[in-house]
Amino acid sequence: MIRDTSNNHIDEKLLTKVILLAGRILLECSAETIRIEDTMNRIARSLGYQHSNGYVVNIFITFSLSQNSEVQIIRIHKNNTNLIKIANVNTISRKLVNKEITLEEAYKKLKDIDLNTKNYPLLLKTLVSGLISLSFLYLFGGEFGDIIPAFIAGSIGFSIVEIIKMRIPTLFIPELIGSFVIGLIAIWGHHLMATGDISPIIISCVMPIVPGVLITTAVQDLFDRHMVMFTTKMLEAIVTSFGIGSGVATSFLIL
């Protein structure tokens, strides 16, 4: 039997707590799977546990520190993208591995990240998504008359999707309703203010709600051989983009 004899002074329970907390924050912010497993194993290895095992799927983490300790399972309920948390957890695990901070400090800081990290306010994000629509309007070759409807449709569509996502955690519905509203505003505004092709304005308004994070991380998981994570994430991305497409198509059929 393999025993980690050199680490009797380390609080195993606290170490497991720290590792699971770091993994949970990363998984909730939809980081790539290899980053989560790597972070957990690296923290364990830096404190002398060479035989730790971690396994991450899209809704839970299982982890055991050594062959003598218990296996812990954590289930994840929400999936918010938040890149600040990923960066901060990365910094803390880097410091912990380099022995710049102790285990207790790391636990306190991770708790702080988990509870007290603020997203940017929804109003700011709404305005910003309007600006995103405008910059894509230029890239796709829209007209000057499209500017005002693109700004309005982009910002309103994004805020509708975010608000519905806060209320109900369903997958398909927020994007369907949001892109339906986007289609209505964009088509109506385009007929009111501009002439010519309608596709640039609709594409650029839909852009803020495209599932970019899911696609990117899914591809990275695929190439790291995390097939289960790839399948679930890609399915989520496909369902989301199908929602967007069908919302726009519905508004086309109505108008």
Binding site: A31, T81, A87, V128, L131, I132, I203, G212, T217, V248
Partner: protein, 153 residues
């Protein structure tokens, strides 16, 4: 020349603002925007100046994006995903996918399937570009680790 600068500025702006929408750390906005702008610029220049198809140009664009974001992740000591996610957005074949959806609504299934396969191939090309950048940096890292081990022992 002005169009090139404007295309860079607007794709930079799109990536910069997307970094805000996905809650990236504030000091990394500029870097994320720069990566997105460069990736899109490579794609745009090749598309305009050469005879290449959009599939190959987006492959090269996303390769550029991947190399830049790995370099920035090494220098700024942050996860590479922070630069990749906002940067990939200007390259996404939204226009072509939308065209396919519109053809579906108009019940022209043959051209819808054609355009949809095009969109799928472009998305795959972007993925392969990112993969190549990943592997290049993994090979570099691997040799570095080996050298360290040899000097250490």
């Amino acid at each position: 020349m002005l169009t090139i600068i404007l295309h860079f500025v607007f794709s930079f702006l799109a990536s910069y603002l997307f970094a805000l929408v996905y809650d990236a750390p504030r000091k990394l906005f500029l870097a994320a925007g720069f990566g997105g702008g460069c990736g899109y610029l490579v794609n745009y220049l090749l598309l305009e100046s050469t005879n290449m198809d959009a599939i190959y140009t987006s492959l090269l664009g996303s390769l550029t994006l991947g190399l830049i974001s790995h370099t920035m992740a090494r220098t700024l000591k942050s996860p590479v995903i922070i630069f990749m996610i906002p940067g990939i957005i200007p390259l996404v074949p939204g226009g072509i996918a939308f065209e396919a959806t519109r053809k579906l609504v108009e019940l022209e299934f043959n051209s819808a399937v054609d355009i949809f396969i095009r969109a799928l191939l472009i998305a795959g090309a972007i993925a392969v570009g990112l993969l190549m950048a990943d592997q290049i940096f993994k090979i570099i890292n691997h040799t570095k680790v080996n050298i360290n081990r040899e000097t250490g022992t």
